[in-house]
Subunit: 273 residues, 2 copies
DNA sequence: CTAATAGTGTCTATTAGACAGTATGTT
DNA sequence: AACATACTGTCTAATAGACACTATTAG
């Protein structure tokens, strides 16, 4: 190994191709909450989680649905890539984004070696007024609970239904060593089932110890609405008094009311930092 | 854009250099617990967190300390790279590893664009019997609590003392959007202060809802030892009865005892899955 | 005996879970 | 009036925090 006298000298002589380079992409799991209009005028809307998918118009996985994503540019900050792509797909800026996980199986893309850093984004759907890219669509998420470490996720946009299963595999003798394996997937491209599952779990965990949920809420909301969002993320019903105790320090009462719902009006709240 | 009839045809024609490729490395935060012998023969050893650093023998950052790491090979699974590097540095297999975060600032490495996926590893130091690589050394960690979002970390291996500070910066109006910025660092290479801080926080959080801590423990341990490990990770004292309530379902009593400590002997426990 | 840690009993304070009740709009 | 949700009071169960006490070894 040659000896250098200074970092400058070393850098001048450095061969950047000593190790074969690879490609880096980013995939964005955009999550939101959907309301499905109730048939009964009195009943409040049912809510469900939804994820933004785009239809691939080119190979590989042509005509399949996948998470929005793209290549990270050589000079681009890793955190900027998902922002750029989100802007392209939703025409929105300043959206909540957090890094989820980096997937690096050598065979995850048929083209070549591509490592992908996934991000999770939470948005309030009401913010996009017809700004959605034409090839993008919201899919409602149904998560079937795990029997012997198998999770099945069903996505539905009213036209297409995508269904896949993921198996949680204990790898070694050490504690806390799970890997996830897609066992049944003909409907969604790449390893995106893993991204979706990882994101849903992250969201569920962060719900209790962060204020992350307010990124999915409009500025003003009723506690009933907020509770329904909690319930759909956690996948279980909550008792009213318990829920109100938990969130009482996170929200601020306004003097606005939501009326015209076929029942007693409710006070609108806003997020209190 | 050319139309292809099949994925095979597309792949045959695919230009892998459409986007400029980059390099991917991995950095491993190896954490363990150190005991510093007490002067008083009766007193139990003080414990502290420790991190494994290696001295760089080449540019860039020549002669500075940094986390063990290296390039991810083109054909290598991302998860395999840290295993390989850990084997090289500690000669140990089957060690707990989890992915931490991927750092992708374009200027984080002076050589070229290098994105780095960091991993956290937890080990029981007793497992390495002189197997440590010569250029590697354990540094005790002291974490000075944050005043106005500033964290200072001090690392000490008995010879060198490394000190740096990290500032937590609220980025935008959205909830839960922090970025971290190294404000004072002349002692440790790359953006490794961020990796260390991220890992310590991850460990602290996971302590309460996982069994991750047992990766740092020997097969048999006393509850006093386990409690000291909890205390050094959390940075605060715990009350005995409360601690024993919390871990009672995670440990199994053995019929072994630890004696000769200058005070009442204690029962040895082992991890119960 | 003393110093030091091991280990337990119990009281209290806080938090979580459950249920029942009252309130108030729309149709 | 009936329905559906809004909102609250209160009891109980479970958990967390605190303190005090006993136990047991080496020296």
């Amino acid at each position: 190994m040659k000896e250098y006298k200074s970092e400058e000298e070393f850098l001048k002589d450095y061969n950047p191709d000593e190790f074969k380079k690879l490609s880096l992409t980013t995939d964005i799991l955009v999550l939101s909450v959907s309301s499905t209009d109730s048939s009964n005028y009195r009943k409040t809307d049912e809510k469900s989680m939804s994820v933004l998918l785009v239809k691939r118009d080119n190979y590989p996985f042509k005509d399949m649905w996948c998470l929005p994503g793209g290549f990270v540019m050589y000079d681009e900050d890793l955190d900027e890539a998902p922002k750029r792509i989100l802007k392209r797909e939703t025409n929105l800026d300043n959206i909540y984004l957090e890094q989820l996980y980096t997937f690096g199986n050598p065979n995850r893309d048929p083209r070549m070696r591509i490592v992908s850093t996934s991000y999770m984004s939470l948005i309030d759907k009401n913010k996009l007024n017809e700004n959605l890219n034409k090839n993008a669509s919201w899919f409602d998420i149904t998560l079937y609970e795990e029997k012997n470490n198998l999770v099945t996720i069903c996505l539905d946009n009213g036209v297409d239904t995508l269904k896949f299963s993921i198996k949680k595999v204990l790898r070694e003798e050490t504690t806390d060593r799970y890997s996830f394996e897609v066992v049944d997937n003909k409907s969604i491209a790449f390893d995106h089932p893993l991204v979706i599952l990882a994101g849903l779990e992250r969201l569920r965990n962060k719900l209790e110890y962060t204020d992350i949920v307010f990124n999915m809420m409009p500025k003003y909301f009723t506690l009933g609405e907020l509770q329904k969002v909690y319930e759909v993320i956690l996948g279980k019903k909550l008792l009213d008094p318990a829920f109100r105790r938990i969130i009482k320090d996170k929200v601020k009462k306004t003097n606005k009311m939501k009326t015209g719902e076929g029942h007693r009006p409710s006070v609108l709240f806003e997020y209190k930092k």
